[in-house]
């Protein structure tokens, strides 16, 4: 065997989970997906602000925790075992706080100005396509992968995980805010959710994520055109 370790061995379920200590976040994300997919999509017309915020608070973990899973795994594996779940939940929870703030502002604006229309949605998708091609997008994407050394225990460790969650959330927001703008306009739209989550996850997880940007831009422009035509 030329790779030291595990090629060709069967791995028990316990060992599989041990290697993926980020599973609590995956469970949260999956649960949110299950709830959202079991509900009726949003339709044009008057929808209460509270319902919009509720949809957003479900969409956030569903869409933004999946791309964060590799980083969450690194946080967990670089923490003492007794702290792993605590570290992961701190990291994941705080990273979503940034998005929650954006969501309150964006959803409120869309609601107050009654911007829920096919034209605005098409414009948001086009804006997302344009953002994909900016140098800033690439810088934020790079910053998403920054993993500082974590203190091993105590409040210092908690603060470090929370701080990492905050910085990761900020970087992730910088990279993906334009992808979430259409969601603020469309509300609960499973098809759009799948598309945008796929783009965000591919860019975060793949080795040359920045090379996906041109393809993603084209896909978003096509989606924008389809919304215009259908609208």
């Amino acid at each position: 065997m030329t790779v030291a370790g595990h090629a060709g061995r069967s791995i028990s379920g316990t060992a599989w989970l041990q290697r993926r200590p980020e599973w609590p976040l995956a469970v949260v994300a999956s649960g949110c997906w299950a709830v959202l997919l079991s509900r009726q999509p949003a339709h044009a017309g008057h929808i209460r602000w509270l319902q919009l915020q509720g949809d957003w608070l479900l969409m956030l973990p569903a869409m933004m925790l999946l791309p964060a899973l590799p980083m969450a795994r690194r946080v967990a594996r670089n923490s003492l075992r007794r702290r792993r779940h605590r570290a992961v939940m701190l990291f994941g929870g705080v990273s979503l706080v940034v998005w929650a703030g954006f969501g309150v502002a964006a959803v409120t604006l869309v609601h107050l100005l009654d911007l829920r229309s096919p034209l605005v949605l098409a414009g948001a998708l086009a804006a997302a396509a344009a953002w994909e091609l900016t140098p800033a997008k690439r810088r934020f994407l790079r910053a998403c992968h920054r993993m500082p050394a974590l203190p091993p225990h105590g409040r210092k460790a908690d603060r470090a995980c929370a701080d990492l969650g905050l910085r990761y959330g900020y970087s992730c927001f910088g990279a993906c805010w334009a992808l979430m703008l259409p969601m603020a306009v469309a509300g609960h739209s499973p098809g759009l959710m799948v598309l945008l989550t796929g783009i965000a996850a591919a860019e975060e997880i793949t080795v040359k994520g920045h090379r996906i940007a041109p393809v993603a831009a084209v896909v978003l422009l096509v989606a924008s055109a389809m919304v215009l035509v259908a609208g």
């Binding site: 075992r81 910053a143 500082p148 091993p152 080795v207």
Partner: protein, 514 residues
């Protein structure tokens, strides 16, 4: 390009088919040169004759390549950009593979095509004899044969050639001590010895947090530097590769920087030696290269001597003679006491994942003086204790290494080094931490933020210290000792003095059990 293309182009001799390459002149036809070409030790060449024809030819070819515009694929500047550049990276440029099991094969390919380009340029030189032109191969620098081989050969330190022209082999952007004849630190805890790397039994480490990366590097995808987010250099890349880069480059020198290293002509000789060490490693019993599709299938792009795009994969460069038409003058494994090394020399690592059991609480500043830090280790988890009572593997990680610039010095790392320096310090020696690539890994806007990370397999050291009751889980001490170029006893250097070393911060030192 596949094996058939190479054999068709280069025939049985492994020599290039230069008949359609620019400026090739009269070429020996395929089949005229007996056997594969032989890469020789630069110090052997120097001992035969100062400014050996092979060396003169290299210098002349560099001069030719330096005159070519940067956009020319066969220019000196372009060849450097292949390794690293921030300007217009593409499928050919900014492609070097580090902290990965692609480190060795990619650099073998890189050197191969560079050598082809240099050989083509050598053919243009009027002052080089036909035998040298036919047989020219890139020399290597084996710096581990004692004085004077741990110093830079005179032909690389002379500012003028014997003809009185500016010497292409000399660059001012090096460690001043090295340019003045200072020696790379060899001997105990020196950076020239490949013994620690050669003791690694496995080529690649698994993609797992905290574990050592084997001889060649961890299993990754395409990996310029830290795309995987957890990568650490393999043993050969740690020492001597990274350490020599810093020692020769010094602070701010070409060899110290990722994007500038190939601009120093000695870069190619250094990497030739690292490539040779891969061949040496393979000569040892039980060593095998990876066969996984992930290693074999990754395609890398280069340009040949004609500037034509070529592609290669790792499985096509494992045999330098059959695949690439060259060999080394000496690939004899050195005799060494592998008992002295920290690495576990046999048996596959356990199937369970690694587990962090302790780390330092505070960052450590490396400012040029010895420094130590301590940590307490936690008891492993219940799931871990369900297996064998003792960890099968113990790893020491030095993580989050950041700094603005490579300080040009390495640090020897020790565990529980006794205060009494007369004691057997070598039993506490772990390995070296060096800082090649630190500028790429530091700062929020860097290409690969998060800092460098080194992982050492200290399983044997752990068992040795435990047997002597010298492994205290309540207080594990890790020490860093700077290892510097040996200053030349030279009036010129005495006037200048040593260069200031920019500080480096280590985020934490950690211990993983497996």
């Amino acid at each position: 390009m596949d094996r058939d293309d190479i054999e068709e182009g280069y025939g049985d001799m492994g020599g290039p088919d230069n008949s359609e390459q620019p400026g090739s002149g009269d070429q020996p036809a395929n089949g005229e040169h007996p056997g594969p070409r032989v890469r020789r030790d630069i110090w052997e060449l120097e001992a035969e004759q100062p400014w050996h024809p092979i060396t003169r030819a290299y210098a002349g070819a560099i001069r030719v390549m330096q005159r070519r515009p940067p956009g020319d694929f066969t220019s000196w500047a372009y060849q450097a950009a292949i390794h690293g550049t921030d300007e217009n990276p593409d499928d050919w440029r900014n492609q070097c593979q580090h902290n990965s099991w692609f480190f060795l094969p990619w650099h073998r390919m890189y050197l191969y095509w560079f050598e082809e380009i240099v050989r083509a340029a050598v053919q243009e030189l009027d002052d080089i004899d036909d035998d040298t032109k036919a047989a020219w191969a890139l020399p290597y620098w084996n710096y581990d044969r004692g004085t004077p081989t741990n110093t830079l050969p005179q032909s690389f330190r002379d500012q003028l050639t014997p003809e009185g022209e500016p010497n292409p082999l000399f660059v001012a952007q090096r460690s001043r001590a090295i340019n003045l004849g200072g020696g790379l630190p060899d001997g105990p805890f020196g950076i020239t010895s490949p013994a620690g790397a050669l003791a690694e039994p496995q080529f690649a480490g698994p993609p797992d947090t905290g574990v050592a990366a084997g001889f060649g590097g961890p299993q990754t995808g395409w990996h310029h530097f830290d795309e995987s987010g957890f990568a650490t250099p393999g043993a050969a890349e740690q020492t001597p590769h990274n350490a020599i880069h810093g020692a020769v480059g010094g602070r701010g020198g070409f060899m110290s920087g990722f994007d500038t290293a190939p601009l120093d002509p000695v870069f190619w000789l250094h990497h030739c030696n690292v490539d040779r060490l891969w061949a040496v490693w393979m000569k040892q019993p039980g060593r095998t290269n990876p066969t996984e599709p992930g290693w074999a299938g990754e395609v890398f792009h280069f340009h040949d001597a004609a500037g034509t795009d070529v592609t290669q994969t790792s499985d096509r460069v494992v045999d330098t003679v059959a695949d690439l038409g060259y060999t080394y003058a000496d690939i004899t494994p050195p005799v060494s006491d592998q008992e002295g090394f920290a690495v576990t020399p046999s048996a596959e690592p356990p199937g369970r994942p690694s587990e962090l059991v302790g780390a330092t609480d505070f960052p450590i500043e490396l400012t040029g003086d010895p420094v130590a830090a301590s940590m307490a280790l936690s008891a492993p988890s219940a799931a871990f204790r369900a297996g064998p009572a003792e960890p099968q593997r113990v790893y020491l990680n030095v993580e989050g290494i950041q700094g603005e610039q490579n300080p040009g010095v390495s640090y020897a790392v020790f565990v529980n080094m006794p205060d009494d320096e007369e004691a057997t310090v070598d039993e506490h020696f772990v390995g070296h931490v060096s800082f090649f690539g630190i500028e790429k890994a530091s700062g929020p806007d860097s290409e690969h933020p998060g800092g460098l990370r080194y992982a050492f397999d200290i399983s044997r050291l752990y068992r040795r210290l435990k047997a002597r009751d010298a492994w205290d889980e309540a207080n594990l001490k890790v020490s860093f000792r700077p290892v510097r170029v040996q200053m030349p006893e030279d009036a010129a250097f005495a006037d200048v003095g040593p260069e200031p070393e920019p500080p480096v911060t280590v985020g934490r030192v950690s211990v993983f059990y497996q």
